[in-house]
């Protein structure tokens, strides 16, 4: 799972009003190089919750992202590269996602988060 997906996911349990961001507990992660596409990054930037991205990146040991970001920074190549690396090149392999409200853990196995809910959570 990439941080791009983590940034889009929120907790789906019935009655949870504030299910975003899921806290990332990473045990194992890998880096896979992907070609940088500036157009995609500019397009996706307004949809990214920056705080959640920076927090998740820090959870897997990448602290090159600034705490705050705005659209003007997209002109800087250096920023784009860091943004790209955090968003698309870091893959969480093992770990868990934790709902901020209920504390429910969604385990991540072999890079695939298990988001299946129990009967009483639907």
């Amino acid at each position: 799972m990439r941080l791009l997906t983590h940034n889009m996911l929120s907790c789906n349990i019935k009655g949870v009003s504030n299910g975003f961001p899921l806290r990332l507990e990473a045990e194992k992660w890998v880096e896979k190089e992907v070609e940088l596409n500036a157009d995609f990054l500019r397009g996706i930037f307004p949809k990214i919750e920056w705080k959640a991205l920076a927090g998740a990146a820090r959870a897997i040991g990448y602290d090159q992202l600034p705490d705050e970001a705005d659209a003007s920074m997209l002109d800087s190549d250096d920023f784009l590269r860091r943004f790209h690396h955090a968003l698309l090149e870091l893959h969480v392999e093992e770990g868990a996602l934790v709902c901020p409200e209920t504390g429910r853990r969604f385990p991540i196995n072999k890079g695939i988060p298990n988001m299946l809910l129990h009967e009483d959570e639907v």
Partner: protein
Amino acid sequence: MGVFTFVCRSSGADWSAKQLTGDLEASASSTYELQRKLVQAALAADSSGGVTSSFSMVSPCSAVFQKETEARKNRVMPRPEIQAPPEIFYNEAEARKYTTSSRIIEIQAKISERALELLALPNDGVPRLLLDIGCGSGLSGETLSENGHHWIGYDISQSMLDVAREREAEGDLLLADMGQGLGLRPGVIDGAISISAVQWLCYADKSFHEPRMRLKAFFGSLYRCLARGARAVLQLYAENMYQSEMIMTYAMRAGFAGGVVVDWPHSSKARKAYLVLTCGPPSMQTSLPKGKGEDGEMCSDDDESGDDESQTVGIYDRNRPRKKLKVNKKGKGKEWVLKKKEQMRRRGHDVPPDTKYTARKRKARF
């Protein structure tokens, strides 16, 4: 499948037979007559389809007769939806098919290409973030990746997702149930496709499943997570009218505009229905594209060109002009005869040897 075994004995001129495990019996004056009677007796007990039988003598006055009735193979492809829930139906063996069967791979690729076309993303070369609902082994996702898009795949079957991982699917995979809602932030997704998955929602596989609630949860969450104006293209195999109506109703209730595009409506095999939904109120942009093959054009399995231009010129076999027979005054010639003879020899036919007379030229006056 029923297997009937009989022990046959002769006493003087008459033969009698008794079933080894059971109480079918017959007697006759000859072994031929006996076999006929036994087959009839067995067919009366189990008449499911074809019959194979064998009669073997053990000693001059005793024999064993065995007969099998084979259940006829189900010609109609059974719907997987009525066999088992998806997470159980798509087990390792079923998932394996999606890596080994080139036919499945080709069909999936074709459908997903068409779905991507119906998605009508702006043609500016910018990659988008798409959803693949019921991504399975990532075959449809592959098409998305080939077109440069990033995607998030949902599936409920762990085995299928394992295969997707093996195939190195480039999108992110989630083990989730679409009937529980997608669980995404609002307005972040640029489009969604789903290949042969949504009809699963119409089946209640667990005691607490309520198809209507699951459809509502699915379409509700899909509507929320899509950006305004984004499209969702869902290819589905509805079992009957009620199902497609129910699916459509819940899509409309969630706020989607759109309808069903049917490709190849006249073909029972190639017919594919796509639910094309647009997020937001109806407008010019939400008008439905036309299905392929609606005006009676033919679909063929070998149209690899795939573009609309070449497909509209298809014509019915009936109207196709006969191929002109090649008439050659000189005849076929020696080379052709030798080639044909060689061909027949290879097939194991008895062919006369080649001699100096083979296909020799006749004199003109002949």
